[in-house]
């Protein structure tokens, strides 16, 4: 896991630095959004593939899918609610709509 995290960090920083220093061609920067979207869909498709290929997941869905579904809805909702409260009342920097990426 640590190797992966380091690799992700290096790639993010490398991309960021090259772009920040103006070493990336403007044409590529303009197309970065479309390229990102392409890889994003490929990645989501592969994630779907992995779920479909994993018979353990499919079998588990039939047996305890309901309970797990309720757990996932509650954990994700309360997580978002806490961040909403903290960002609204403590951080007070709610960046919704500011500088949204629009490719």
């Amino acid at each position: 896991m640590l190797t992966n995290v380091l690799l992700y960090l290096v790639l993010l920083i490398l991309g960021g630095l090259l772009s920040y220093k103006g070493l990336i061609h403007q044409k590529l920067i303009r197309r970065a959004g479309s390229i990102q979207l392409f890889f994003l869909y490929v990645l989501i498709f592969i994630m779907g593939l992995r779920i479909g290929l994993d018979r353990d997941i499919i079998d588990a869905i039939y047996s305890i899918g309901f309970r797990a579904g309720i757990y996932s809805i509650f954990t994700i909702s309360f997580s978002a609610l806490m961040v909403f409260i903290v960002s609204k009342f403590i951080i007070r920097s709610h960046p919704k709509g500011e500088g949204e990426n629009d490719y």
């Binding site: 994003l40 479909g52 997941i57 309720i70 609610l81 806490m82 903290v86 951080i91 709610h94």
Partner: protein, 198 residues
């Protein structure tokens, strides 16, 4: 975007279920790694190109660490509350909630305690990732950018980071990576802690 994401995800699941053999799984590891690396490089390009993001980040500073902490606390509370409805021990619910979307590790950590809870944790976190993929664009549009990080949990530093970046801004993308990293560190600490408290 949500509908497109959902369609792509469903096509992937259907292809995996009906068209491919389970042995293909090994190939998806490489594909996922390569795809993720390329994607993260382009996310980096995007972030570096938006110099204003760093000014914003500097201004808000250390307070941004509250994002992963509150996301973690919320997830655990959510898990504990629902465990009461299912007649389970609240710390079992806490352990499931503390997976933060990292399904493989949370299930492995819980497995020595209970195979059933381990499977629930595994599936809960698989569903969490799917829900995050579907709802990040909606939450970004109607609620706020930082809340998308809560949806991604530990995956907001890798698999859901591109979706967060795509639907929010560069500042949120940086906070997302740091939050995902911290929440990933929390998982192997908090899951065994809750198991010990049962």
């Amino acid at each position: 975007m949500t509908i497109k994401i959902l369609l792509v995800l469903i096509s992937g699941v259907a292809t995996g279920m009906f068209l491919l053999e389970p042995e293909f799984m090994a190939n998806t590891d490489i594909l996922l790694d390569v795809g993720l690396c390329l994607l993260l490089f382009f996310v980096g390009i995007d972030i570096g190109n938006n110099k204003k993001a760093f000014v914003h980040l500097k201004k808000t500073g250390i307070k941004l660490l509250l994002i992963p902490i509150s996301a973690a606390v919320g997830s655990i509370i959510g898990g504990m509350i629902i465990s009461i409805f299912f007649g389970m021990n609240i710390f079992e619910g806490g352990a499931i909630g503390a997976g933060f979307g990292w399904y493989s590790l949370s299930a492995i950590l819980i497995a020595p305690y209970s195979a059933e809870i381990s499977t629930i944790a595994f599936l809960t976190n698989v569903f969490r990732e799917i829900l995050a993929i579907i709802f990040i664009p909606i939450v970004a549009k109607h609620i706020g950018f930082f809340e998308t990080i809560a949806l991604g949990g530990a995956t907001s530093m890798d698999t859901t980071l591109p979706i967060i970046t795509r639907n929010t801004n560069s500042e949120t993308a940086v906070v997302s990576f740091v939050s995902g990293l911290l929440m990933s560190i929390f998982v192997p600490i908090l899951v065994p802690l809750f198991i010990a408290l049962i």
